[in-house]
Each structure stands twice: as C-alpha cells, then as structure tokens.
C-alpha cells in the first residue's frame, strides 16, 4: 500500500491491527459488527432486557398486534402470539437460544475440529490420504443434510439437534486445519523449529497456531452463520427445539398456524433470524476481504 510519509521512519501496524484497519474501511461490515455486538448483548443480558417471562401465557391477551398497528398496545411492543405470550420477550430469549447455542456449538466444533485436523495434517501416508478423501466428500455435503440424517437416527429434540449440528460442523474445521498444517509443515520456519528440537506438539502450539488464528476466525464466522441457520431450520421443521421453547425457528413454525390473521407472528421471528444472518455474514465477508487485502499487499 502506498503511504504518504512525512518522516523517515515508517509506520508498521501489527498484522492484527492491519486487518482491523482494512476491516474498518468497509463501512457496511462495521455496521454488521455493531449489529452482531447488539445480538451478543441481548444474548448475555436477556433476563434483564425481556419485559415478560417468555413462556408466560395470558389467555386474556391473545394475538395482540404490535404497537405500530392501530389496535396494538404499548405493553406488548411486538404483540403477542396465539397463546398470549409476549413476542418481544420470546424473541429476546429466542436470540439467546438460537444465537447463544450456535456460538457454543461453533466453539466446541472448532476445538475438536482443530485438534483432529492437526493430527491429520501432521501424519502422512495412507491414513492421511484416506482421511483427505473422506473429508473432501463430507465437506461437500451440506451440514443441514448431515444434521437431519443424524436426527433421524438419534430422534427429535433440542439436545439431539445440538449434537447433530456440532458433528456436522466438525469436518469443516478438520479440513481447514489439516490443509493449513500440512502446508505450514513444509515451510522453513517450522523446519527451523524442528532443528531447534521442538516436537510436533510444540511446533503446533508455538508456531502454527499463531499463524492460523485469523483464518480460523473467518472459518468460525462461516460456521456460526451455518449453525444459526441449521438450528432455526431444525426448529422450524419441529426436529430440533420443541414448543414452548422460545427458539426462533420454532416460533416461526408456530406462527404459520395463525399466519393469515396474525402475520407478525411469522414476520418478527423470521426477520430476526434474517438480521442475525446478515450481521454474521457481513462481518464474515468483511473479515475475509480484509484478510485477503492484507495478504495481497
């Protein structure tokens, strides 16, 4: 990058800082980041933010429209559903369920996937080649399909769907780590570390991990968007979270029954999933192009 410098000494930002500077250039991505932070805040503080208990039913307040309708009320800002539950509170708790669970699943899948990937990347020969092929095939299969198949076997339920999605996410991380590790193992700085007498574990933690961090974050955002989509899709299909759990996809499928008389019961949960997906994807996109730009220059 051309930089106008008045003084002789050049300013060298750290790689991480450089990525951040690149990321900031992309205004839309920054908006996405704020949105994402907003969801994080909701997820963490939802008991404080939600005005009602999400499962509290009041038979007197059925299907109240949101506040902006002429017959809406201010006590239920986003209205109520067919059982008289406050939709705002349900959406807030729904964010915790859908988003929070997704974050946990991605972290778990990342830990397991990176571990397996590192082992696969450092081993050679038949094992590696066979693992390569199997991973290649699995990686081409959409996680949701794998998750549906796993649920078909394990049975319906939120916990089973979490297992299913986590298992389905792992191959992505294994694949990426294995590629990265086997590429890095051939590089000279690893050779230098080897010559210093470092064993494989030391090489992995001291030399490779620091280089892999950012790529892993990008992969994690991708996994996060997949995971949010999968959890809500399984909830929607009644294969994952079951009503009365406040899960966004489950809420959406409950709303279908009254979609014609109360369109907000499908508009609001669906819109929330959409917004969540956009913000994750914007951040992911922004990070990816920031990283790409840094590597180009």
């Amino acid at each position: 990058m051309q930089r106008f410098s008045l003084y002789q000494e050049e300013y060298h930002p750290s790689p991480l800082h450089f990525t951040w500077l690149e990321f900031k250039q992309n205004h839309i991505a920054v908006v996405g980041l704020y949105c994402l932070l907003f969801f994080v805040v909701i997820t963490v503080f939802c008991p404080i933010l939600a005005p009602f208990d999400p499962t509290l039913q009041s038979a007197g307040d059925l299907l109240i429209p949101p506040a902006w309708y002429s017959n809406g009320g201010i006590s239920h800002l986003l209205g109520t559903d067919a059982l008289g539950r406050d939709i705002l509170s349900r959406v807030i708790y729904g964010c915790r369920m859908t988003f929070g669970i997704s974050v946990i699943l991605v972290i778990l899948a990342m830990l397991i996937g990176v571990g397996l990937g590192a082992v696969a990347g450092m081993s050679e020969g038949f094992r590696s080649s066979f693992v390569n092929h199997v991973l290649d095939s699995i990686k081409a299969i959409p996680t949701l399909l794998i998750a549906i198949i796993i649920i078909a076997i394990l049975g319906i339920g939120l916990v089973n769907s979490m297992w299913a999605i986590m298992l389905a996410l792992i191959p992505q991380f294994v694949h990426q780590t294995r590629e990265f590790v086997s590429r890095e193992m051939k590089k000279e700085y690893v050779l230098a570390a080897k010559l210093d007498g470092a064993n494989n574990i030391q090489i992995f933690f001291r030399s490779i991990i620091p280089n892999m961090g950012e790529a892993l974050v990008v992969q994690a955002t991708l996994a996060l968007s997949i995971s949010v989509l999968d959890i809500s899709a399984l909830g929607f299909l009644n294969l994952g979270a079951q009503s009365p759990m406040p899960e966004l996809g489950t809420m959406l499928s409950e709303g279908i029954e009254v979609a014609y008389i109360a369109p907000w019961t499908i508009a609001i949960p669906g819109g929330t999933i959409f917004l969540m997906m956009i913000s994750i994807n914007l951040v992911g996109d922004g990070l990816r192009s920031a990283l790409r730009n840094r590597l180009l220059h």
Partner: protein, 343 residues
C-alpha cells in the same frame, strides 16, 4: 488416468458399503425388534405368515443377515413403511425424483441468472454496480430459505393469487408414474391435454424453485465474480490487453472460457445445497419429495422408512459428489484437489 479412476471407484465402493452396513445396523440400534425395523412388517403379522421368509434370518450370524439384507436391497425389496404400509422402494422412487427435479430446476435458474450477473459485477469491479450486486447477494444468502418460502407464498399465492402453493401438479391430472420425473411422465402418458398438464406443472414449480434458487444464485454470482476477477488479473489477459484488444474482445476470446473452467465443478457442487434446501422447502409447499417424506417418517418414528431414506439420500449425495470430483480429476489431472468455493 485409469489409476485415478480405479482409486475413485474403490473409494466410492467402500463408502457405499460403509453406508449400507451402517443402515443395516441402524435396524439394531433403533427401538423395537430389528426384523420389524428391517422389513417394516410388524412381528404379530409376521408370525401370521405361513411361510415366514423372515424367520430364518434372525437365527443366523450377522454376516449372513447382512448378506440377505444386501441382496434384498438389490432386488428392490427395501421393506415396508410402518406408517403407510407401502413398499419403501416404490415410495422412494416416487419421492426422490421429485426432489431431484426441483433441485435441477433451481440449479438451472441459478446458473442462468448468476453467471451473467457475476460477470457484470466483475467487469464493473469496485464500481457502483459491483457494490450493489454484492450487497444484494449478502441479503440473498442470509435469508433463511424457509422464511423466504413463507413470504413468497403470502405474496404471490395468497395476496396476488398468481401461483398455486402446494404439490407439483393439480390432482385433477392423473399421470401414471413411469420415471418419477413428472415432466417426462407427462410426455410418456396418454392423457389428452398434455400442454395443459405441462403448464400446470410449471405453475406449481415456480414458487418453490424461486425460493431455493435465490441462495444459490447469490453464491454463484460471488463465485463467478471472484473467478473472473482473478482471471482478468492474470498475465495472459494483461498481455491481450497490451496487444490492444478491446475489453469485449479480451472477455470473449480469453476471459469467459478461462473464468468458467475452474468454477463449473463448484456450480455442480451447489446441487447438494439445493437438494438440502429443497428438502426444507418441500415441507412448506407440500412438494411430494424426499425431504417432506423423510421428515414425516422422523415424526412418525417410522424406522424402516428412516433407514431406507437415509441410505438413499446419502448414497445419492456421495455418488454425486464423488463423480464430480472424479470428473474434475480426469479433466484436469494437474489439480491436486478440488478447490472449494471461495466467495
């Protein structure tokens, strides 16, 4: 070359054997009696059958049972569904083509729209068109497909009344099943008004196709855009420019071919994504496909159906992805491994 072929063939065979073994053992893992789960016939009914062909299997070793299971699979005897009592082979050969058909329509549509738009974005790289296409595409692949399907139903079916919202052909048409692909079956059938039937199928297909094609279209725009940008930055393109060719000439003589070659396999790979999305959307549009059917089977804990459906779907996906992989290898032996979608 043949070496590669043999290796892939072996790999595919091993994977399929593993899948079939897995589906066989599922019958033992599921609740209930394994024989029930394999055949779909209730034990009480089996004991009523005089010449019980199932009896002898339970006493024998696992390996022999597996052998029987496999030979039954190849004979098309996949057992019966608990729920409907119909033979699973018939059911699956009914529903799987419906899903493949829907996914194919959507793939066709996405390629038709996505590639030109991808080129457009790449040619206007870092200009307004590019940015707006990119932002629209973020919206496009962020929208949950099941929500989109509900929205298009609300707008195009219920508000505007343009398209029907369920099934793939009106029940007034009786199309005998030959291939399971409705368009083919219409042509093979002997009904009077084929044109009307085809129109009816098209009207039924439009909304589900649109709902699942949107995500794939946006992905294809991005894949194409990236590939075109990379191609246009290569030295031979720069050299072509240096020789004084116009942008149009460069694009048509060198650009298109070189940009499309690496992404064709990526496009084909979108088929599995489409199939998955089709499986979800089917439940909304009551499309008689494998997704709708498998999910019903899961609700009803119809173990024989889950077992066979899982085997059919995973075998289809495995065979499909491996064949694509193989084709790429054969076309381009230099390529070490399939490059995945970079968006």
């Amino acid at each position: 070359m043949s070496n590669v072929f043999v290796r892939y063939f072996n790999l595919m065979l091993i994977t399929l054997v593993i899948l079939s073994l897995f589906s066989f053992f599922l019958a033992y893992l599921f609740p209930g009696h394994p024989i029930e789960n394999l055949t779909g016939v209730r034990l009480a009914d089996i004991s009523q059958l005089e010449n019980s062909e199932f009896k002898y299997r339970s006493g024998e070793s696992m390996l022999v049972q597996y052998w029987h299971y496999m030979s039954a699979l190849f004979e098309g005897n996949w057992g019966k569904s608990f729920n409907s009592g119909l033979p699973l082979y018939d059911e699956i050969t009914n529903v799987l083509p419906a899903s493949i058909e829907l996914s194919s329509y959507a793939l066709f549509l996405s390629v038709l729209v996505g590639i030109p738009l991808g080129f457009l974005a790449a040619m206007k790289h870092h200009k307004f068109t590019d940015y707006s296409l990119l932002s629209v595409s973020v919206l496009g692949y962020s929208i949950p497909v099941f929500w989109l399907a509900l929205l298009v139903i609300l707008i195009f079916s219920l508000q505007l009344g343009w398209f029907p919202l369920s099934g793939r052909i009106s029940l007034f048409y009786e199309i005998p099943k030959v291939t399971g692909f409705i368009m083919l079956d219409i042509f093979l059938s002997e009904i009077e008004d084929k044109q009307a039937a085809v129109n009816n199928v098209i009207r039924h297909s439009i909304l589900p196709t649109l709902s699942i094609a949107l995500v794939t279209t946006t992905l294809i725009i991005r894949i194409t855009r990236r590939s075109v940008i990379e191609t246009m930055n290569t030295e031979f393109i720069q050299a072509a420019f240096a020789r004084g060719l116009s942008t149009r000439q460069v694009l048509f003589r060198h650009g298109i071919r070189n940009a499309l070659m690496p992404i064709f396999p990526l496009l084909a790979m979108q088929f599995t994504t489409l199939l998955t999305n089709a499986m979800i959307v089917e439940t909304i549009f009551s499309w008689p496909g494998i997704g709708n059917w498998l999910i019903q089977a899961i609700y009803h804990q119809d173990y024989p159906a889950i077992r066979a459906g899982m085997l059919a779907v995973s075998a289809l996906v495995v065979i499909f992805t491996m064949s694509i992989d193989l084709t790429i290898r054969l076309m381009d032996p230099k390529r070490r491994r399939l490059k995945r979608a970079a968006i």
